[in-house]
């Protein structure tokens, strides 16, 4: 096939959008939206990498910090949430062997996520609203620095994403417990108890162990979704609070900022926000590793019962670790710093280490394996968390935090290596694994591009984190600027690694578009011709 023909019709013309079920279309829409917003985040990241080396006149300082505010939110909500929603809305019904509770609700989730992300990104782009994702009180309501209207639309955008997230949460739990039309009544209560870990916990104290009603990946998704419910509630509550101040300012009232205790606010907001970083991300990732390991090997997960217990421990740990973000807050009670900040946080080394080991042991039992794209990206994801979690445990130490907090160390070897290498490579493994399933056998355009994607992403992600970390150990702060080139050597090297990440993304994006073709991309967004609630067409 000629290049133009492949570009239009996809590799060998194998992708036929008309053959897709509504569920397949839904998943592919989520993936495409997630990839587009990942592209936003990568380009924003590169702009900031360049600005850290040399502040370019084209971008004002206010614009830089607006980008810094939008970048992690676009990355997490616009990209990662979209990929996770798409994957899990397919995996849960697939594992439960029944249709998704509501495709309509799932489409609403996609719409709200896509529109909400664009609204807060655009509000930040136009108005330079830049309180960062941390929103430390009273900065989000500082209308001497920021536009009140810009802030209002920014917060509204986040609220839209959160409403979409609520719809996703409802869909996941309802899919687990509901009885499809015409089916024998399902034991909803027992399914829910198994999914959240209650029946597994009771099993520990029973002589005769009861069978688990849901598979391990579904249990992981359900438990991660509990954290998602809690953090969505916190983010929505905080958003409403900030909106109250904004609406009052628009109406000409100046609410007293000191009415809210800044430290109390910081505690509740970090409690909620940390349920993403130290809660659902770790739990979802562990569940995804188990899913990938079982699908790659065709074998059961090694030490499955221990894995279930570890997921439950991780859930409980995630509710009690937030104080590691407040180790440098001197008014924070010492007992919270030591118990929550240090001791409980150290449990994450154990729970994530268990998931790491169990996944590797499951793969090991099935040797020899073929080094497929999904396997190599899974190994990359495992490596990412193996590097990033110990870095996080180090900074969650009263002594070390005094000299690491808010340095590039935090955001380099910990945050970016965890998100870019650990989380994103795990999600890419899922995309490569599900691609032929959700496209009814479309062929990947180029294995060479997939290899470039893998190596450029792995080296770029680890390298960028490493050089940022080196700068952090030399005292370079995050969320700051150095105009005299104090850390330029590290920033140039980190910039080169950032460019590798951009190359990796372009290789992947081109590969996917060439695989399904431009007509295929358009077809994904057209209504499905097959009217069914089944996940896959009958012939498949």
């Amino acid at each position: 096939m000629s290049f133009i023909k492949t570009l239009l019709q996809g590799e060998e013309g194998l992708f036929k959008p008309d053959s897709l079920t509504p569920m397949q279309k839904l998943v592919l829409r989520f993936v495409l939206v997630g990839l587009v917003y990942y592209g936003f985040a990568v380009i924003e990241g590169m702009i900031m990498r360049i600005y850290e080396i040399e502040p370019v006149p084209l971008i004002s300082r206010n614009q830089f910090f607006a980008i810094l505010t939008a970048h992690p939110l676009v990355g997490i909500f616009g990209s990662t949430y979209a990929l996770v929603f798409g994957a899990f809305l397919f995996v849960v019904p697939h594992q439960m062997k029944k249709p998704l509770f509501s495709i309509k609700l799932a489409n609403w989730s996609l719409g709200l996520l896509g529109v909400g992300t664009f609204v807060f990104w655009f509000a930040g782009f136009i108005s330079h609203y830049a309180p960062l994702y941390t929103l430390y009180w009273p900065l989000p309501a500082d209308f001497e620095q920021f536009s009140v209207w810009g802030g209002t639309f920014f917060i509204l955008g986040i609220a839209l994403v959160m409403v979409g997230t609520v719809f996703f949460i409802i869909n996941i739990f309802k899919t687990i417990v509901y009885t499809p039309e015409g089916w024998k009544k399902q034991p909803g209560g027992a399914l829910f108890a198994s999914a959240i870990g209650y029946s597994g916990l009771r099993n520990l104290f029973r002589k005769e162990k009861k069978e688990h009603h849901v598979s391990l990946p579904v249990a992981a998704i359900a438990r991660g979704t509990i954290d998602m419910t809690l953090n969505t509630a916190i983010i929505l509550f905080t958003g409403v609070l900030i909106l109250v101040y904004m609406v009052a300012a628009i109406l000409g009232f100046d609410l007293k900022e000191s009415a809210i205790d800044a430290l109390l606010y910081k505690n509740w907001f970090w409690w909620g926000l940390d349920l993403i970083a130290d809660g659902l991300v770790l739990i979802f990732v562990a569940g995804t590793w188990y899913l990938l390991a079982t699908m790659i090997t065709g074998k059961k997960v090694f030490m499955q019962n221990i894995a279930r217990v570890a997921l439950l421990v991780e859930l409980i740990v995630s509710w009690t670790v937030w104080s590691h973000h407040l180790l440098s807050d001197q008014a924070q009670p010492v007992i919270l710093k030591v118990i929550s900040g240090e001791m409980v946080t150290a449990f994450e080394l154990i729970t994530q280490g268990l998931a790491f080991f169990i996944t590797l042991a499951t793969l090991w039992a099935a040797r020899p394996l073929k080094m497929t794209n999904e396997l190599k990206f899974l190994l990359g994801g495992l490596l990412g968390f193996a590097l990033a979690v110990p870095a996080g445990i180090m900074q969650a130490d009263v002594g070390l935090n005094r000299i690491l907090h808010n340095t590039q160390w935090i955001v380099g070897p910990h945050v970016h290596v965890a998100v870019l290498v650990g989380l994103t490579m795990t999600l890419y493994a899922v995309v490569y694994l599900l691609f032929p399933i959700v496209t009814n056998g479309a062929k990947l355009y180029s294995q060479k591009l997939a290899n470039i994607h893998f190596w450029a992403h792995l080296v770029g992600g680890i390298g960028m984190g490493a050089f940022m970390g080196m700068a952090g150990l030399k005292g370079m702060l995050r969320r700051s600027l150095y105009l005299e080139g104090e850390f330029n050597l590290y920033m140039i090297l980190a910039g080169i690694c950032g460019a590798l990440l951009l190359i990796a993304f372009l290789a992947f994006f081109v590969n996917i578009v060439m695989s399904v073709g431009l007509q295929g991309v358009i077809g994904i967004f057209k209504p499905a011709k097959i009217k069914t609630k089944d996940l896959l067409p009958e012939a498949a």
């Binding site: 300082r61 830049a130 500082d142 090694f302 030490m303 190994l379 002594g399």
Partner: protein, 189 residues
């Protein structure tokens, strides 16, 4: 005495070695996973040994640092120490207001920095001439923000806000405002 440079150098060595080992381990695993093998079942004793190792590592990190990093006990029990000197510092409208007298410290003095914010959340960090960090803390409005520090190296230090407080706060830097006088030991030698 152990200072932040020594601690960070130690951390760099330990973490770098760990990274090299774990990268090689995953690379080795990836290679071996594709080779034919007689049996691949992992023994449960190996699994439980791994869990034990993680537990020991997780717990021992904080025990080791609390016994080797000198500022940890001082930091956690600040009220039990009597500072040799106290500096009251205020932050408002993205600017530090330092005490009217020079910030001069005798070597080995225990100094209390008591920083108050009248509006936003800021940071308070002390940095060496080469931009490396001596220490930092958060400065939260409406709360007491104090840090107790013993300076055992002579030199001139810079104060900088270590927390983002909006674009206006990026250059909250008070360059070379803190002076630690020569230590007696080094002066004698």
């Amino acid at each position: 005495m152990v200072d932040s440079t020594i601690v960070l150098n130690g951390q760099t060595i330990v973490y770098t070695l760990y990274c090299v080992v774990i990268i090689l381990l995953v690379a080795w695993f990836g290679y071996k996973a594709t080779r034919p093998a007689k049996t691949g079942i992992v023994k449960t004793w190996f699994f439980y040994s791994f869990v034990g190792m993680l537990t020991v590592l997780g717990v021992s990190l904080h025990i080791v640092t609390s016994h080797t990093i000198p500022w940890v006990p001082v930091d956690l029990h600040r009220s039990e120490y009597v500072p040799d000197k106290t500096f009251q510092i205020t932050v408002e409208k993205h600017a530090f207001t330092l005490p009217s007298e020079e910030l001069v410290i005798d070597c080995n003095d225990l100094v209390l920095f008591d920083v108050t914010s009248n509006d936003l959340t800021y940071g308070f960090g002390v940095f060496r001439q080469d931009n490396s960090m001596v220490f930092q803390m958060q400065v939260v409005p409406g709360h007491k923000n104090d840090v107790l520090w013993r300076f055992d190296k002579p030199g001139v230090y810079t104060i900088r806000s270590t927390e983002y407080s909006g674009p206006r706060g990026v250059f909250m830097i008070e360059k070379d405002v803190l002076k630690v006088l020569e230590c007696k030991e080094s002066a004698d030698s």
